[in-house]
Amino acid sequence: MFRAQCGACHGPGGAGGAAGPDLTTGTMKRGNSDESLFQIVSKGIPGTPMPGYGASAKEIWQVVAYLRTLSIGKAAEKAKGNVERGAALYGQHKCGGCHELRGEGGWLGPSLSNVGAERSIGHLYAALREPNRDVAPETWRLRGKTKAGAAVMGVRINEDTFSYQYRDARGLHSVAKSALQQAELVTESAMPSYSAKLTDTEMDDLVAFLANCRVGGGR
């Protein structure tokens, strides 16, 4: 039933399609409880393309149960390293200089407060070893110069035909494209590779620490 009714919009594996968001992240934005999911599947979400399904309650509970299995893969993965040693490494390598974690840290990289629920273990290893392999558009930086000569450098958070919105150490900014003499999107990661900086054990420990970073507490 999922593939036939839900797959058309949410993708065949639920990982996101042309009209529906990724359902495999382990965190449902609209409500994470079983009851919320039941309501959403049966009544839909008004004002969005998500329709309600007039299926039987039993069928809808089956869909909800199936939805849970889509993220079990990530939730059940166990990182092999030591979380406490990983926390120490996080501080030692000053990851907080660029990343926000539980309200503290920098703005240049993505927030890590829920990375344990949002990313698989494999992705965490890959991000530390080859950060340039999969650079999310959310982290792209805007680099340029205004016509007045001032430098523009920050993480791009929105863009339209006529303006950019970006964030830097000072806060939030909006700049008209017509005010820029030069602008480019930097799509390479600002993060260096940690393959050479960490031993294999240290890598395992840091990944274990990150895998445990979940909103609502780790496991």
């Binding site: 009714q5 797959g7 058309a8 399609g17 009209a19 008004p46 969005t48 792209w140 929105n158 035909t161």
Partner: protein, 542 residues
Amino acid sequence: MRGTACLALFVQVAAAQVTYDRLLNAGKEPHNWLTYHGSYASQHHTTLNEITRENVGRLKLNWVWQGRSLEKFEPTSLVVDGVMYFTEPPNNVYAVDARTGRVFWNYRHVLPEVTYACCGKVNRGLAILDHTLYMTTIDAKLVALDARTGKRKWEKVIAEYKQGYSMTVAPLIVKDKVIIGPAGGELGIRGFLAAYDAKTGEQAWRFNTVPQPGEPGNETWGLESWKYGGGSVWLTGSYDPELNLVFWGIGNPGPDWNAAARPGDNLYSSSVIALDADTGKRKWHFQFTPNDAWDWDAVQTPVLTEVDVRGEKRKVILWANRNGFFYVLDRATGQFLHGKAFAKQTWAKGLDDSGRPIRNPDQVPSPQGTVIWPGVQGATNWYAPSYSPVTGLFYLSAWEDYWSTYYTYPQQYEQGKWYAGGSVKAPVPATNREEVNNKRSKSAGYGAVRALDPKTGNKVWDFVMSDVSDSGLLTTATNVLFSGNREGHFFALDAATGKLLWRRYLGGQVLSSPISYAIDGRQYVTITSGAAMFTFSLHDPE
């Protein structure tokens, strides 16, 4: 003195009868917008000339009407002698004073709790004849309202909504008939175009867009796939009074992405049909995408005009299709005159001499997913293009470099459930109802207002935008082009060059066509954005 002024005001806002004669000659009353497309030729062009390229920079906001629906706001308004009529989704109708936006009356249609619309409970607008307004509904009814009071005159069940039928199209009135069709191409319907008596609602004729056994074209549906063939009708067509033909674009065949389940060309899906307006008999048809494997509904506006073709003036239909090709067809015979791709596409090597696509055989949905240009929403879609008799150019909202990954799988039909036989992934979402930030790059696809030369299909200019657009266009006799986009901008371009002349950020996606009308010599331009409607003019509001 006071008495006379009151009388004048009353006369001004009382709507006069909209006879068929007035609809035929809509061009002679440019101060009104009498049909969904403005006139039967559907050029989305106004001959009003108060607003020019020189003064459009001084447009002022005159009024805003705010809706209270969370559904996508897609209607294009009618304006008749100072009264504006439109629908608020799903099926509410409003009559407001076109000068001030103040409400005269509204009508609310009650829908069942569970209905079957694929893509939101939307409605694209109304038709008017004499003093009656006509609306199609999500539960597949045709409703007739008294335009003076908003009271329902009658309603007619057109199709059984529980079988997956819904209706979203703004009707087309021709003579004494209301012409409409059902949506539901993803729900295994059997589509049709039908005409109903404007006074009684009795069916006058019906043309099956998915032919039944015994009807010509049924043989193009192998494996008995005609039973759930789709062939929906969800956008208003055009009419040529001299030929007495209605032209209509027909939706995709079902299941959308499993073409193997329906071997054959699948007539008349993803085609334009030309029917006799009195009898509904097919005069000709032209299929843009035979055995459509990508959900490329030919649900676009048939734009009627005359074009020089190899030294000869021909009466044509101009068609920028969802499949990425621009076509020029002779509208008396359906003959393909010429066509070429207007945006990046990888599914066809080109068109043969009859206009049939020469397909790239591996550019079809697959179980593991195939990346294909254009994406599922098409290189353009249902939002109205414009033809300007002044520049001679054809303008459209194009989605450029936009692709999707198409998946296919076998599926059994079940009544009331999606029957699409696959799915699609695209970096550009189908709608931005959820997304408030655009964090994509140009390589994910972008939007452009594109001007084409109808004589050659060549691009003349582009106004490039960051995000795509679902907005219709409007050109004026003074060479101003109005459009909006998904980002929430409403703007004016120079129709000759594409240069930006004016813009306002209205904050919500623009999902309808701009219209223009006039009252007491003042020209107004109206557009929807988000859940609201905005009207501008050069003058201070009253």
